[in-house]
């Protein structure tokens, strides 16, 4: 490594300068919206209406967050969200990986038909009403299970997209590993569990991230299938509820007609939306750095592969 470097003395320097500049630019441009939202979330609502908030709050307040946490439901909903994210992700990742393994086996007789069946699911939606009937007929309405089996109102327990990502990854693994295990008499399930699954750690970390973020962010399933049971309410759903209530209190023609305006609010839709965004996204942001370790460990797999 060191010897190689010597041969290009000026070139790497130039490259690095250029590269760091680009990276810095990207970091600044992508950090800005988040910081701006953070600033707005700590700024007084009526003042935010004026606009012109960039990186720092102008009139500091915790009111927006107070409004988010005043309803006790948020805390319970947080744990429901954590539970569905954990359970949903574990099941989904395992089942997806298992399916991907079977579909990576060239000899598998149903490989093609099952692959097609899954790929097509990405390109159609049956519609809300039939889906609702499905959930209702299966007695899944207002159950926790609907979050796992039908996350976001889609057949997401096994996602075709994630399956393809894993399958593509498995294709890059050396076939010899599987073959030699077969010769040793191992069955497919055992090969999957003890050889392929560990080798897939980096890609599984990736799809775990996708699944977890999806599970965490969705509120649509609560909205349609579990809204009448308060103890199944998720964090996102509670937050969306707060947001629409704030939006409404400020823009309803009826309420303004009489008793309304004495209720001129300090909290505007803009400011509560910012606080909600922060509360909703910060918990899930910690997931990625945690999973990131697996990404790096993928690099060491090279030696295993040989």
């Amino acid at each position: 490594m060191l010897t190689a470097k010597k041969r290009f003395e000026t070139e790497p320097l130039l490259f690095h300068a250029f590269n760091y500049a680009i990276m810095l630019l990207i970091a600044v441009v992508t950090l800005y919206p988040f910081l701006n939202t953070l600033a707005v979330s700590f700024n007084a609502g009526t003042d935010t209406t004026r606009g012109g908030i960039y990186l720092l709050p102008r009139i500091w307040t915790l009111k927006n967050y107070e409004a988010v946490f005043v309803s006790g439901h948020v805390f319970h909903a947080f744990w429901v969200s954590v539970a569905r994210t954990l359970v949903g992700t574990v099941f989904s990742v395992f089942l997806t990986a298992m399916l991907a393994y079977t579909l990576s086996r060239k000899e598998y007789m149903f490989r093609k038909i099952i692959t097609i069946a899954f790929v097509l699911t990405m390109y159609f939606h049956a519609g809300l009403i039939p889906s609702y009937f499905l959930v209702k007929d299966l007695n899944l309405l207002n159950t926790f299970l609907v979050y796992i089996l039908f996350p976001g109102g889609a057949a997401g327990l096994v996602s075709a997209f994630n399956m393809l990502v894993v399958r593509t990854y498995i294709h890059t693994l050396p076939e010899s590993l599987v073959e030699s295990a077969k010769i040793d008499g191992a069955g497919d399930f055992r090969i999957f569990l003890s050889i392929v699954l560990p080798l897939c750690a980096p890609v599984l970390a990736t799809i775990a991230l996708f699944t977890a973020v999806g599970q965490w962010n969705t509120w649509f399933d609560t909205f349609l299938y579990a809204s009448s049971k308060q103890n199944l309410s998720t964090l996102q759903y509670e937050l969306i509820k707060l947001l629409s209530s704030a939006t409404n209190s400020n823009s309803n023609p009826n309420i303004s007609s009489s008793a309304a305006r004495d209720a001129a609010t300090m909290i505007t839709p803009l400011s509560i939306r910012a606080a909600i965004t922060m509360v909703a996204s910060v918990p899930i942001l910690v997931v990625y750095p945690f999973l990131q370790r697996h990404f790096v460990s993928g690099a060491q797999l090279g030696s295993v592969k040989e």
């Binding site: 009526t46 003042d47 209406t49 004026r50 606009g51 107070e66 409004a67 005043v70 309803s71 006790g72 099941f91 395992f94 089942l95 809300l128 009403i129 209702k136 007929d137 299966l138 007695n139 309405l141 159950t143 299970l145 089996l149 399930f189 055992r190 569990l193 003890s194 649509f220 909205f223 349609l224 579990a226 809204s227 009448s228 049971k229 969306i240 509820k241 707060l242 629409s244 209530s245 704030a246 209190s249 400020n250 823009s251 309803n252 023609p253 009826n254 309420i255 303004s256 007609s257 009489s258 008793a259 309304a260 305006r261 004495d262 209720a263 001129a264 609010t265 300090m266 505007t268 803009l270």
Partner: protein
């Protein structure tokens, strides 16, 4: 596919799914020799037994489930008002609020027939026979409601079958009533502009824009930023700032997309006609003078509010409630002189302005009782109890001694601390029931004891809240209330207002309505921003495109209902 067949088919597939997961779990065990537990099987186990989730209504004390299509501040679990209702009336309210899209939620609710006991109005629910007729129920069990709605009983009936399905939440007033502030449409102008020119009286567009022009010439910048003469808004469903001015300029009341001849009771379009043209031509002229906000048609609602809150927009046409947030911000910044006065402009001084109307019944609004309600009588009796002034005051004013005081003259008032408290959202969540009260039938105007229906309409409370500049403006014009700027409205036309007409879901009338809106959003900005010489050309093109729309379907539907109202509401 019948429900049964579908259920059977699902059941079968589910069974196969569950079975195969268990099978694979077993096969895993045998292959993996216990290493790595078969994580799939517990899930299969929990999916097969049916776990009915629908919470059944408790027998005693009485529970009422409610679905509301517009959430207000969501009450906390130990909210003061709800606690009182439970303690005194034994009623627990299980509320659900709409978030997300109403069409989607109602669509599946109707498809599945999963209604709560009480639901807020939507014409879809009537079409799907989800709500029960209320007229007998009210007549037999609810004397307070009966008395409250007596005058408007016929108006509440559904044009299609003559039944009453909804209890309107606004528009039934007790006694002679005058609002202190006009929250509806008007041309607005900054108080500072009026002050600058010595509080002139004016009626026409020319005079209005002259004031704006002169003020802008004198103060090209306000607080270091360029002054904006006139702005407007055409964003999403907020279309009236751009579209509705011509009907008022020509002396018509707010009938939405049409003007109605009061003599013949026939509606006609005003958009893209000669009723509308002079106004947009005027806007085109002021654009050429640099008074029009160039960005107006591309801005979103937040940007519109931000501009108003910056205090440099001199005027606009809008409804007051729509930009109230911007004005709140101005006042909190200590710039009350940048807040607005509503002026009823007309094309010609001979036209009597008709911006303020008499209260109208808020049709297709309020609560209805669904077919799923087990005991409609108990529910209507509960609602009837809430019509008692005692409960009404609890909702609007709060509790005596806590939220307001009773003066020696019997009139209610609030201390500054109590007023401040009312503005605190978190406090409201624990102490008010605004969302619920918004939809309940309510006493408006004056209570029997002479107090107004809420602090905002109590004259003393109103005067106590006026800023010095407000007193100056009102004093200069010799008015007491903001509504005094407007003509006293005549009795409403019987069929008024046309905007509350239900155009029928998915009908050609609705398609035409949407097309008209699309064309207005596209061509009006184009016409206003065009070079003065091109205006007529663009306007002609607009008219031509309007000609392609099936406006007849739209007008026919409107006229059909206007006629029906004329015949049935006059009784």
């Amino acid at each position: 596919m019948g429900v049964r067949a579908r259920k059977a088919a699902y059941g079968l597939l589910m069974l196969v799914f569950a079975f195969s997961i268990i099978a694979s779990g077993c096969s895993k065990k045998e292959n993996a020799e216990g290493s790595g537990s078969p994580s799939a099987s517990p899930q299969a186990n929990s999916s097969s037994p049916s776990e009915s989730g629908s919470a059944s209504a408790g027998p005693e004390p009485f529970e009422i489930s409610i679905f509301m299509q517009d959430p207000g501040p969501i009450p906390t679990e130990n909210n003061r008002i709800y606690k009182k209702i439970k303690d005194e009336l034994g009623v627990t309210l299980k509320e659900e609020y709409l978030v997300g899209d109403a069409e989607q939620k109602l669509g599946v609710m109707i498809a599945g027939g999963d209604y709560p006991d009480l639901i807020t109005a939507n014409t879809k629910l009537v079409a799907a026979k989800a709500v029960i007729p209320l007229e007998d129920l009210i007549e037999k069990n609810a004397p307070n409601l009966k008395k409250h709605y007596e005058k408007v009983w016929n108006q509440m009936k559904d044009p299609n079958d003559g039944h009453i399905y909804w209890m309107p939440n606004y528009g039934v007033y007790q006694g002679e009533f005058k609002t202190t502030q006009h929250y509806g449409p008007a041309f607005f102008i900054q108080k500072a502009v009026l002050k600058e020119f010595g509080y002139p009286k004016f009626k026409t567009l020319d005079e209005y824009f002259k004031l704006i022009e002169d003020y802008k010439a004198k103060y090209p910048e306000i607080d270091g930023q360029p002054t904006i003469g006139f702005t407007t808004l055409a964003y999403d469903w907020r279309d009236w700032p751009l579209r509705n001015a011509p009907e008022h300029l020509s002396g018509h009341p707010n009938d939405g997309g049409v003007v109605v001849d009061p003599n013949t009771n026939v509606a006609s379009l005003f958009e893209a006609t000669d009723i509308a043209k002079p106004y947009y031509k005027k806007l085109n002229e002021i654009n050429a003078k640099g008074l029009m906000d160039r960005e107006a048609f591309a801005q979103n609602f937040d940007q519109y509010l931000a501009k108003i809150a910056s205090g440099r927009v001199l005027g606009m046409f809008d409804q007051r409630w729509n930009f109230q947030q911007g004005e709140d911000s101005l006042i909190s910044q200590g710039k009350p002189e940048r807040a607005y006065v509503g002026i009823p402009l007309v094309y010609d001084p001979s036209i009597r302005d008709y911006y303020v109307d008499r209260p109208v019944l808020n049709l297709n609004n309020g609560f209805g009782i669904t077919v799923n309600a087990k005991d409609p009588v108990k529910i209507i009796k509960f609602l009837d109890t809430l019509m008692d002034p005692k409960w009404q005051k609890l909702f609007s004013w709060g509790e005596e001694g806590v939220d307001y005081q009773v003066g020696a003259n019997g009139l209610y008032s609030r201390t500054p601390e109590q007023r401040k408290q009312q503005e605190d959202v978190t406090w409201k969540q624990a102490n008010k029931a605004e969302a619920l009260f918004r939809f309940l039938p309510k006493l408006e105007g004056k209570y029997p004891d002479g107090n107004a229906d809420g602090p905002g309409n109590q004259p003393d409370e109103f005067f106590a809240n006026l800023k010095p500049i407000d007193q100056e403006v009102l004093g200069a014009y010799g008015y007491k209330l903001w509504t005094d700027f407007f003509s006293v409205p005549p009795e409403n036309r019987i069929s008024y207002p046309a905007w509350s007409i239900d155009l029928v879901e998915g009908s050609p009338a609705k398609v035409a309505n949407q097309k008209m809106k699309d064309l207005a959003f596209k061509y009006l900005p184009k016409a206003i921003l065009s070079k003065p010489g091109d205006f007529d050309k663009v306007w002609a093109e607009y008219g031509e495109q309007m000609g392609k729309v099936d406006t007849k379907a739209y007008l026919d539907r409107v006229n059909e209902i206007l006629k029906w109202r004329q015949e049935n509401w006059s009784k």
